[in-house]
């Protein structure tokens, strides 16, 4: 049993799971990647100077009126269809009233009892000791709303709300189209609850990527999760749930579920009662701290948004969007596994490293599948891990691999030189041709130059030449190595070997 500085007590996960069953629910917010905001034409670019992407509408100035972004509705319908939801034939926006300066209007336009999409599901796969296991996560609803402004708390010692003297607000993010995806309660996961939660969020992220509706960067906040969790003893009714907010990485989803199971189990073990509250997850400790108590139900006084008319997507529109859906990630994985003739483990490692789409794109432009996998999951993944970025964030494009592979095939490059080409690309030194030219990376294919290097190496090691001549052909390796060294690796080792044997008049 461990106690944190906040007074929360935890018992080991396995012990908790021996007495309790977890029930989880996940709310995910996704910022849509539209050009303009939900209700106005302000840009949605990330990282701009504070308060430079605001207008009377998203500042809530008197007399301004919102108008719905068509692409945001379209994206939401596509998300709903991808998650096997029903699409409402008629639904409205609702005004959610609350006082907090992250929304200058003092309300957020959201959807309440009439979400655009409802009753869907997403199947997720979790690796277990017995092999992959599929869980169906049912989707309660997908609704449209707007993101809020960004607050910076100033004056306090910790930079958090408590102790802050005042707050500074940047409204660039206010009004960016936001989608909330709410699961139904997920039961029956047992001790796989942390893995199922993580797998769900990951699959959801992959679906969003496939749809191209969001950049889903959890570290930049364009995808954020809240995890609801309760425990009960087998056979008993459901327990009281807590809601853990601020869960902003895939790893944290898993950790947040695990941590909350360990905490609630300890509370229940000691005859305590789990409080219905909002908790805040902390990346650094992997634990959450108690936030606002939700004992008193929130009173947002939702009512139909009077400034907007209902959304009533026609069946034709919905069917047109359905027909245009891309291949879903799970379908694609199954297809590639077969096409590339790889096993579950190889597939999982490709998918987990984010290499799947890159490898597929590389193969699509003619690169051999083994070579494409080798570069992405070998050298390039190593660099990405070293730099702590996603593979796709590297500057290398499938076309670069295609060019390099073509040069290897023609004998102009070898593996070692190819690695140097990629090193150059990663360092923004230019195109493949430019890097080869400026770094002088061409394989030395001039026989004269190679023969001169071979003669030099033989002269330096006369005993080796004798060994080869006496039939110990494996001794040739030492000469080849010396030539490769002399040419700074810019020779084709097989060719050097052939030339050497020819020089000595030895045949294999």
């Amino acid at each position: 049993m461990t106690t944190t500085s906040h007074g929360d007590v935890y018992i080991p996960f396995e012990e908790a799971m021996s007495r309790y069953e977890p029930i989880i629910g996940i709310e995910t917010h996704v910022e849509l990647g539209t050009n303009s905001k939900m209700w106005c034409g302000c840009s949605t670019d990330f990282g701009s100077d504070a308060n430079t992407q605001v207008c009377p509408v998203c500042l809530g100035l008197p007399g301004s009126m919102p108008v719905v972004n068509r692409v945001a509705v379209e994206s939401t319908i596509r998300i709903g269809l991808a998650l096997n939801c029903n699409i409402a034939q008629w639904c409205r926006f609702a005004r959610k009233n609350y006082f907090y300066p992250d929304m200058p209007k003092d309300y957020q336009i959201s959807q309440y009892d009439e979400p655009l999409c409802y009753d869907g599901y997403l199947d997720v796969t979790v690796d277990t000791p017995d092999g992959p296991q599929v869980f169906r996560v049912e989707i309660e609803r997908v609704h449209m709303e707007e993101d809020t402004g960004k607050l910076t708390h100033t004056g306090g010692a910790t930079g958090r709300i408590h102790g802050a003297e005042y707050s500074l607000v940047d409204y660039n993010r206010a009004g960016i189209p936001l989608i909330e995806i709410v699961t139904k309660t997920v039961i029956g996961t047992g001790s796989l609850a942390p893995e199922v939660a993580k797998a769900y969020v990951k699959e959801l992220r992959d679906v969003m990527r496939a749809l191209g509706v969001s950049d889903v960067r959890m570290e930049e906040g364009s995808m954020r999760c809240d995890v609801n969790l309760s425990l009960n003893k087998p056979g008993d009714g459901w327990g009281t749930r807590s809601e853990t907010k601020n869960v902003n990485s895939l790893r944290s989803v898993e950790r947040a579920v695990r941590s909350e199971i360990e905490r609630q189990a300890s509370v229940l073990d000691n005859g305590g009662r789990v409080i219905q509250e909002t908790r805040h997850f902390h990346e650094d400790t992997g634990r959450s701290t108690s936030g606002r108590s939700k004992e008193q139900a929130e009173d947002y006084r939702y009512f139909p948004e009077p400034d907007l008319v209902p959304v009533a997507p026609s069946l034709d529109w919905v069917e047109e969007l359905r027909a245009g859906l891309p291949e879903m990630p799970s379908v694609k994985r199954a297809r590639l596994k077969e096409e590339w003739n790889i096993n579950d483990f190889e597939l999982a490692s490709l998918a987990n490293s984010g290499a799947l789409d890159l490898v597929e794109a590389t193969i699509a432009i003619g690169v051999d599948s083994v070579a494409a996998r080798k570069w992405w999951t070998g050298e390039l993944l190593r660099v990405a891990n070293e730099q702590g970025v996603e593979l796709e964030a590297l500057r290398v494009a499938p076309q670069d691999i295609q060019q390099v592979e073509a040069l290897i095939t023609s004998g102009a490059l070898n593996d070692k030189l190819a690695r140097q080409v990629f090193e150059g690309i990663l360092a923004s030194e230019g195109t493949v041709e430019e890097i080869i030219a400026t770094r002088g990376l061409a394989v030395v294919s001039d026989d004269g130059a190679l023969l001169a290097a071979i003669d030099e190496a033989l002269a330096a090691a006369p005993d080796v030449a004798e060994k080869i001549l006496s039939g110990k052909i494996q001794a040739a390796g030492a000469v080849v190595g010396a030539v490769m060294k002399a040419t700074k690796g810019q020779a084709d080792a097989a060719k050097v070997r052939a030339l050497l044997l020819e020089r000595l008049g030895v045949s294999e």
Binding site: C40, G41, V54, V169, P306
Partner: protein, 98 residues
């Protein structure tokens, strides 16, 4: 019998961040009650086949294209703010909220 209690009005006052005196609570309870009773009379004649409407004109799907339009300049955006700092709106510290 009144359809809104004094406690309801006090609660709504808190939600709206309005500080209401005892006499104001009495006053608004009476006024809101009249309004609610008037609305209740409409409910009496509204049958199930007449859905509640939230917009006076029966129209749907008013959309705009996803096109970026110029925003205000930062100076314009911050012009009406009571206090600013570091190009941001400066607001009092917030407690007891998220």
């Amino acid at each position: 019998m009144t359809s809104i209690s004094r406690a309801d009005v006090a609660h709504l006052g808190r939600l709206a961040r309005l500080e209401l005196t005892e006499s104001e609570l009495d006053h608004y309870s009476e006024q809101l009650d009249v309004i609610l009773q008037s609305v209740a009379r409409i409910s009496e004649v509204a049958a199930d086949d007449i859905p509640p409407m939230s917009h006076p004109i029966p129209m749907v799907n008013v959309f705009r294209d996803d096109v970026v339009k110029p925003s205000l300049t930062r100076e314009e955006a911050l012009a009406a703010a009571p206090a600013t700092e570091d190009d941001r709106f400066r607001v009092p510290r917030i407690l007891d909220e998220e």
